[in-house]
């Protein structure tokens, strides 16, 4: 850890936020398996899900090290109560139809690309290394989901309507990605964290360009929701956790 003043709990929480985002979104994509629009897309969605699960695993392992209480990736991923999950609300939103899943992915990837790119310069070597690997992955996620959104937006009347609806449905969850709070500021000051607020301009440019090619309209900034970073979630997370944690909760303390 680079800064002597930095409390391990702060870094621990910061890494957990990141890990939870990737786990919950990976879990959501796992729900698609066996139900995708085409066989080719079946494989594509699983690839993205596997990338996110891999990122989550690295981040949880690192969080466990920082905490120093002997918790491994699974303890952190499976054994916290709902209020202790720190993911953004966006990633816990239900898959909906394919348009909702794709819009959610575009929003997430358009944020994670500049996020991981900036994080590669972090003074925390572990995070910088995870960022370098993850950047290549999310660049592809962005390409894949953008190309789909363009086809859905500019495809048929029905697909246009569905993707415009999906945009409206998820728009208000995007702003939480750029939120900074005392914890994030502290991490930023010691050179570890990314200034999420500063990524908004690039996100806007990326999303606007995709929406234009997709003949979709950028929704109005008329509402927004947040709370995930401090563990105040929508009702959806509880259901995700009831599946995610089922085995660990039913059979406590066993190896699998």
């Amino acid at each position: 850890m680079p800064d002597a003043d930095l409390k391990p709990e702060t870094l621990f929480k910061y890494v957990l936020r990141l890990a939870d985002d990737q786990l919950i979104l990976g879990q959501r994509l796992g729900e698609w398996c066996g139900h995708a629009p085409t066989l080719e897309e079946e494989l594509a969605l699983a690839n993205i899900g596997l990338d996110l699960l891999g990122q989550a695993r690295s981040l949880y392992s690192y969080a466990g090290e920082i905490e120093g209480k002997g918790q491994g990736e699974d303890d952190l991923a499976f054994l916290r109560p709902e209020r202790e999950y720190l993911n953004a609300l966006l990633v816990e939103q239900p898959n909906g139809d394919f348009a909702v899943t794709i819009v959610r992915q575009v929003f997430h990837a358009a944020f994670m690309v500049p996020f991981w790119r900036t994080m590669t310069a972090s003074s925390d070597e572990t995070l910088a290394a995870i960022a370098a690997k993850s950047l290549k992955e999310v660049e592809y996620h962005l390409r894949h989901s953008s190309e789909w959104l363009i086809r859905l937006g500019d495809g048929t009347e029905e697909s246009h309507r569905r993707s415009q609806d999906a945009l409206e449905e998820l728009w208000g969850y995007a702003s939480e990605l750029f939120e900074m709070d005392a914890l994030a500021d502290e991490m930023l000051d010691c050179g570890i964290a990314v200034d999420a607020a500063a990524l908004k301009a690039e996100w806007d440019a990326t999303v606007n360009a995709v929406l234009e090619r997709a003949s979709l309209t950028r929704p109005m900034d008329s509402w927004s929701q947040s709370g995930g970073r401090s563990g105040r979630h929508s009702e959806h997370l509880g259901h995700i956790l009831s599946e995610l944690q089922y085995m660990q909760r039913t059979y406590p303390g066993l190896s699998w």
């Binding site: 699960l53 699974d74 697909s159 599946e243 066993l254």
Partner: protein
């Protein structure tokens, strides 16, 4: 992940003797048949049917295991399971492609599955109800599939053989993944061991049925063997599978749910009890516990996403039209 004596194959063919003899001579010389080569209509029909059944089995086979991805007990298991089920989808894709070289489109093949006209491996009509089922499916179902698929790598039809080589290469981790889950359970608590035994009890007989009816009752087996679409009979493969699997169960400390199972020194293999063929035919004909659920899930995935495929096609048409318009200016 498939292995089942082909159901309802009809290798009847009407070419003249000379043509059939020349074709058989090529097969006997181990020359591969490629899509555009002359071939008996019965050979083509048998292959389309077998490859399609194989592909459908991969796709339907994603459902029982896919059902556990969100509930996998650790992140490592979750990633391995997602990767494995993804592989099954890929295998379905390779196989549909191989069938397509014989002139049937993917859409047509999928249509046959969704209409209930086409068959798939009956094993996937059993439910995966506990985590141990995921271990058992990998160990037994993939194990049985490998027995069947390795000889298919030498199938006389080139595209099928090539697809199988790719599939076998990728599947090498599937059975190990399942067996490792079983090992962990069997080294675990009493509850875990009981879970493993219960799963073996439920999956053992259905996995023996995967090899299809006894040779004596397998109507079209001889022609498939002669054409080298098939290299071993159903009973030969089943015997190999049993002989390989019994010691693996012993290593786990599990008991095979067959009181008649015993080593036969003379034949150098295990004798086993009689398979419940009534159950087999019931499940094949649609009355397994999950037949209806599987078809419902496949149809739902197809129907709910028709608009997505239509959108992509519409976009491609529009873009092509725009490009033509620009070129014309």
């Amino acid at each position: 992940m498939y292995s089942q004596g082909l159901i309802g194959a009809d290798g009847t063919t009407h070419e003249d003797e000379e043509f059939l003899a020349a074709f058989q001579a090529r097969i006997d010389a181990e020359l591969k048949i490629e899509p555009n080569d002359p071939m008996p209509a019965g050979y083509r029909k048998t292959l389309v049917r077998q490859i399609a059944q194989h592909a459908h089995s991969e796709i339907v086979g994603m459902l029982p295991e896919g059902n556990w991805i969100t509930r996998a007990p650790t992140l490592r298991r979750k990633a391995a399971l997602l990767a494995k089920v993804q592989d099954e989808g890929g295998h379905g894709l390779y196989l549909y492609s191989a069938a397509e070289t014989l002139g049937v489109s993917r859409e047509e093949l999928v249509g046959q599955l969704l209409s209930g006209k086409a068959k798939y491996s009956s094993i996937f009509n059993y439910p995966a109800i506990t985590w141990a089922d995921i271990g058992t499916i990998g160990w037994l179902v993939d194990g049985a599939a490998i027995m069947n698929q390795i000889p298919l790598c030498r199938c006389s039809f080139g595209p099928y053989a090539r697809a199988m080589i790719r599939v076998c290469k990728e599947e090498s981790f599937h059975q190990r993944q399942g067996y490792e889950i079983m090992l962990t359970l069997c080294k675990g608590s009493d509850e875990q061991k009981a879970m493993a035994q219960d799963a073996l009890d439920r999956w053992w007989w259905p996995s023996l049925m995967m090899f299809g009816p006894h040779d004596a009752d397998s109507t079209h087996s001889d022609q498939s063997m002669a054409w080298k679409i098939k290299r071993f009979t159903n009973d030969e493969l089943r015997q190999k599978f049993i002989d390989a699997t019994v010691p693996q169960a012993e290593f786990l400390g599990l008991t095979m749910p067959d009181p008649d199972l015993k080593w036969n020194e003379e034949k150098g293999g295990y004798d086993h009890g009689e398979i419940d063929w009534d159950e087999f035919w019931r499940v094949v004909k649609g009355d397994g516990i999950c037949n209806r659920d599987r078809m419902k899930a496949r149809r739902k995935a197809h129907d709910d996403n028709t608009w997505v495929r239509e959108a992509a096609l519409a976009y491609a048409e529009k873009t092509a039209a725009r490009e033509t318009a620009v070129a014309a200016e």
